[in-house]
Amino acid sequence: MEAFDYVAPRTLDEVYGHLNNGKRTLFMAGGTDVIVQLREGRRECDLLIDLKRIEQLTSYAFDSEGTLVIGAAAPLARIYEDVDVRRRLPGLVDAASLIGGIQIQSRASLGGNLCNASPAADSSPALIALGATLVIASVSGRREIPVEEFFLGPGRNALEPGELLVEVRIPAQPPRSGTRYLRFIPRNEMDIAVASAGVRVQLAPDSDTLESVRIALGAVGPTVKVVDVTSLAGRTADSATIEEAGRLAAEVATPIDDMRGSIIQRRKLARVLTIRAMEGAIERAKEIR
């Protein structure tokens, strides 16, 4: 690890003052990935900007429309321990409570997990299922994009030079909907997803008909895979439909062979996890209804 400069600004304006000066700059929204990568020589930088001192980036709140606005550097543990969040967004809690162990979760953030752009990241399939968007800011303004448009490839995201991710926005969930995120790991904790699935379903007011379904898969492609499940809308939430969702998921998966899993194994897991996550999502939707 080569020496680098470190700053911990208090405001976004201060952050902008450190950008666009030709320095190789990295942001730290927790440091649980970036510090390890620097130490192992997988990244290099001249300047590391710590975002943890910026109030706006480390807080979270539901706004008047019920959207949960999460600062990009807010620690995961604070989010998933929040009683309101646990009640309103259990699908988010599924993912946020899986990223690392308790010490890691006290530092790590959704923003960091997203910007790291690992295909196996736990936050992204869940956030996509929840219909979340991202607010990206720079000295010249803000823009908002859906989470699924943020990833360009392994380790590559849609941030332009001079931009940073400032907010994750999770809209109020549709009525009668439920979301579930599941990943497969060989151990029971402290591991990285071999494959994962986030599923949201919305049921009709008085029947088990699916009004809408969203499915996103992790670790089965260079970026999160969003499964086209328009064909499932209007069908009954029964085992045949769930099986069909699993089949669609396996079809979309384009995984790689590596030490963590094989192509065939990951396709199989995409199917199995989609089925199990969908069953869980339907159960949650029914509880709410």
Binding site: F184, P186, R187, M190, M259, Q265, K268
Partner: protein, 748 residues
């Protein structure tokens, strides 16, 4: 469970608090990397990116010129006058490569500098010119004619003499009893299998670290977390060509070893860097270095057959056992021939053991080295035999069990051993008698053996003026042996445990001790401690003779009390010590023993329940019971901890651990993220049953307990998975992917 003939003890069998506990839980204990010396430099070791390559040249000039660098060394610095690096022995080239590298991660050069960062940066400037060679990674491929040869000079040692051609087969050991071929034809039932296990690491929590100071007068001090201060001193002396008496090794606390810290890696390098710079130099590994550059345990390929009569009497066992030694010659397969059949009385045996070099790290011991893989084959065949004969596997084991007098695999009859007792304890256990219900679940059992060693030990005991005693030990305390030795001394001299203070001391301060391994310290150093206790009582009697004016031989010592022949004078150990030492000259005695090579053998038997997820292939351990003949449990809580730790390491080995290489021989998973040891969430409480069959070779009946418990888990879990899925598991690890493959859920 306690045998009826166990003597009553005062201290042995109790569970006192460990004296090193507070330092360890508060972080105050000093481990290898905590060593700080004034003027200390930091070292860094450059490692090979290739698995197999000739080193054409090493240019260190740019690194030497880097600001802050004090020295750069290579293997050439270890050559005697007239020697070249090609002449250096394996011992030396494994710590800094000579003319060749044999594995990815092998040390090639080392830098000493004013800081760790400077040393690392400078190491990047060392220019090594490699000629990359084809590696060979699979043990069976390495045995084939035409495989890339690691060592041109290697000729296979066989019972008929050395082979004619260069070969990767280090040695072919053959053990034959009876007439196995003929007996096989007479068997009613024969089961067989082609088994393989993967290279795994001990996974000790503390990476290696060593600091050395070479004084101008040639006196060298080394601070290290090592399993044996005296063997480390000898190996370092040999590599440095420096008298061992001029080297003092100071042991720090050690964060696990399991056999993996018997070899030296950093000690001679730090010493040479200190010699060159005149400063103390500290070297420490990180986890990548530990995985890639230290010695794991071999992967294996074992083809085995078990034959029996229709009544379930084992008649013949035949096994062809190939063990990876890694980059240099080792003895794992030879060990395997010594342990493979130990649990059973089998008349006809043929064991062929092949030690084989491959382009992986030089392997080292790991708890009962060679035995878990040998048991993975044997105990699955026993399970299959029970299925074929429609017998309870425990009853089949009991029917064929070794006992006192049975010929062991080394040819000698066993002394009193407890294999029958532990299998019976399994049959009687709550676990075995509780039904296992529900789909995708299975129960498995397996036995295991380790021979355990004695070797040489020495301790000193000093009497304090207040009548307490200090016990100075030369054996590394891996597992609480300061306590188990202090308890034996307290028992011997009749004092309370709290009146004995035990410490591990350096190589100048106590007589010779062999390595802390082979489950030998509580046994062998325990015998030395017992000797020291007896010597101390004798020395006290000599002094008391003058004070009491009676012949020393007539003084009685019983139940912790000295008394004069007529009973008129008496006193406890503490009272008498205050009298004859407190007011007299100091008193230190020693106890030194050679406890022999073998100590009589330890047997373990495990029961495990698993559930297999049919869709993901994941195996969950539901319930686990470890049963063992522990001789006499000196400190039962420590003994239980050994059984639990061994079982958990075995669970990891069985389910997910493996060295994962690319085709070029580069290890890809050298981190605890991708090298998957079990966490607390992956294992249930490991229940233990201690069976005490006292070892007749030790005054208190001690048997080594650290190694047998890693032997049964691989086979026990494989048997459980076979019963849960209906599919026999021949290969480790039984990872989710492997389970999906073998159960036909995915085809690849």
């Amino acid at each position: 469970m306690v045998m009826a003939d166990k003597p009553q003890y005062r201290v042995i069998g109790t569970r006192p608090l460990r004296p090193d506990a507070i330092d360890k839980v508060t972080g105050r204990a000093q481990y290898g990397a905590d060593t700080r010396q004034s003027g200390m430099l930091r070292g860094y070791v450059l490692r090979s990116p290739h698995a197999h390559a000739n080193i054409r040249s090493i240019d260190t000039s740019k690194a030497l010129a880097y600001p802050g660098v004090k020295a750069v060394i290579t293997a050439a610095d270890f050559c005697l006058p007239g020697q070249t690096v090609a002449d250096l022995p394996d011992l030396t080239t494994n710590i800094l490569a000579g003319s060749k590298v044999y594995y990815h991660g092998q040390a090639v050069a080392a830098v000493a500098a004013i800081s760790d960062e400077v040393a690392r940066e400078a190491a990047r400037l060392i220019d090594v010119d490699y000629e990359v060679l084809q590696p060979v990674l699979d043990v069976r491929e390495a045995m084939l004619p035409g495989a890339p040869v690691l060592h041109e000079a290697m000729r296979t040692r066989t019972p008929e003499g050395p082979g004619a051609e260069p070969s990767n087969i280090v040695a072919h050991a053959v053990v034959v009893f009876g007439d196995p071929e003929a007996a096989l034809a007479d068997c009613d039932v024969v089961v067989e299998g082609d088994f393989s296990t993967r290279m795994v690491h001990q996974g000790y929590i503390e990476p290696q670290a060593a600091t050395a100071m070479w004084n101008p007068d040639g006196q060298v001090t080394i601070w290290t977390a090592h399993q044996g201060s005296f063997p480390a001193r000898q190996a370092t002396a040999t590599i440095l060509n420096h008298p061992s008496s001029k080297i003092k090794v100071v042991l720090t606390e050690i964060g696990g070893g399991f056999g993996g810290k018997i070899a030296v890696y950093l000690e001679p390098v730090a010493a040479m860097l200190s010699k060159k710079t005149g400063h103390p130099v500290k070297l420490q590994m990180d986890r990548v270095d530990v995985f890639e550059g230290t010695g794991p345990t071999p992967g294996t390929s074992i083809r085995a057959k078990l034959g029996a009569t229709k009544d379930g009497n084992f008649k013949v066992y035949m096994a062809d056992m190939a063990y990876e030694n890694g980059a240099y010659a080792g003895t794992a397969a030879n060990y395997a021939t010594m342990v493979a059949t130990a649990c059973y009385d089998i008349e006809h045996v043929r064991l062929d053991g092949y030690d084989v070099v491959v382009n992986k790290p030089r392997t080292q011991d790991y708890r009962a080295p060679s035995s878990p893989a040998a048991a993975f084959a044997m105990e699955q065949l026993v399970d299959q035999m029970a299925e074929k004969l429609n017998m309870d596997p425990e009853k089949l084991r009991l029917q064929n069990s070794s006992r006192e007098g049975t010929r062991g695999s080394m040819g000698m009859p066993f002394a009193r051993i407890g294999h029958e007792e532990i299998v019976q304890a399994a049959l009687d256990s709550d676990h075995y008698n509780s039904p296992l219900e529900g789909p995708n679940r299975g129960r498995g059992t397996a036995s295991g053996y380790w021979f355990n060693v004695g070797l040489r030990s020495s301790v000193n005991v000093t009497v304090q003026p207040d009548g307490t005693v200090a016990l100075s030990v030369g054996s590394t305390d891996l597992s609480g042996t300061r306590t188990s030795l202090a308890m034996q001394l307290a028992e011997t001299i009749g004092v309370d445990f709290e009146d004995v203070k035990a410490a591990v001391v350096d190589t100048d301060s106590v007589g010779y001790n062999d390595v802390t391994a082979g489950s030998r310290v509580t046994f062998g150093t325990g015998m030395a401690t017992y000797e020291a206790g007896k010597n101390l009582i004798a020395a006290m009697k000599e002094r008391l003779a003058t004070t009491w004016n009676v012949p020393a031989d007539d003084i009685q010592f019983e139940a912790g009390k000295f008394s004069s022949p007529d009973g008129s004078k008496s006193g406890t150990f503490k009272e008498i010590a205050q009298l004859v030492v407190g007011r007299g000259p100091g008193l230190t005695v020693s106890g030194s023993v050679n406890a022999g090579f073998l100590q009589g053998g330890g047997f373990a038997h495990h029961i495990v329940d698993v559930e297999v997820d049919p869709d993901t292939g994941k195996v969950q351990i539901l319930r686990y019971t470890a049963i063992q003949d522990v001789g006499t449990a000196i400190h039962p809580a420590y003994v239980e901890g050994q059984l639990q730790g061994g079982a958990v390491q075995g669970i990891g080995w069985a389910l997910n651990e493996e060295y994962f290489y690319d085709d070029n021989g580069r290890m890809l998973n050298s981190s605890f993220l991708d090298y998957r040891m079990p966490t607390t969430l992956d294992v249930p409480m490991i229940d233990t049953i201690l069976v005490e069959v006292p070892n007749p070779l030790h005054p208190y009946g001690v048997r080594g307990v650290g190694e047998p418990p890693i032997v049964p888990p691989l086979a026990a879990i494989a048997n459980a998975v076979a019963h849960a899925t209906g599919v026999r598991q021949y290969q480790l690890p039984m990872s989710p992917r492997r389970i999906l493959q073998t159960t036909g859920k995915i085809e690849e």
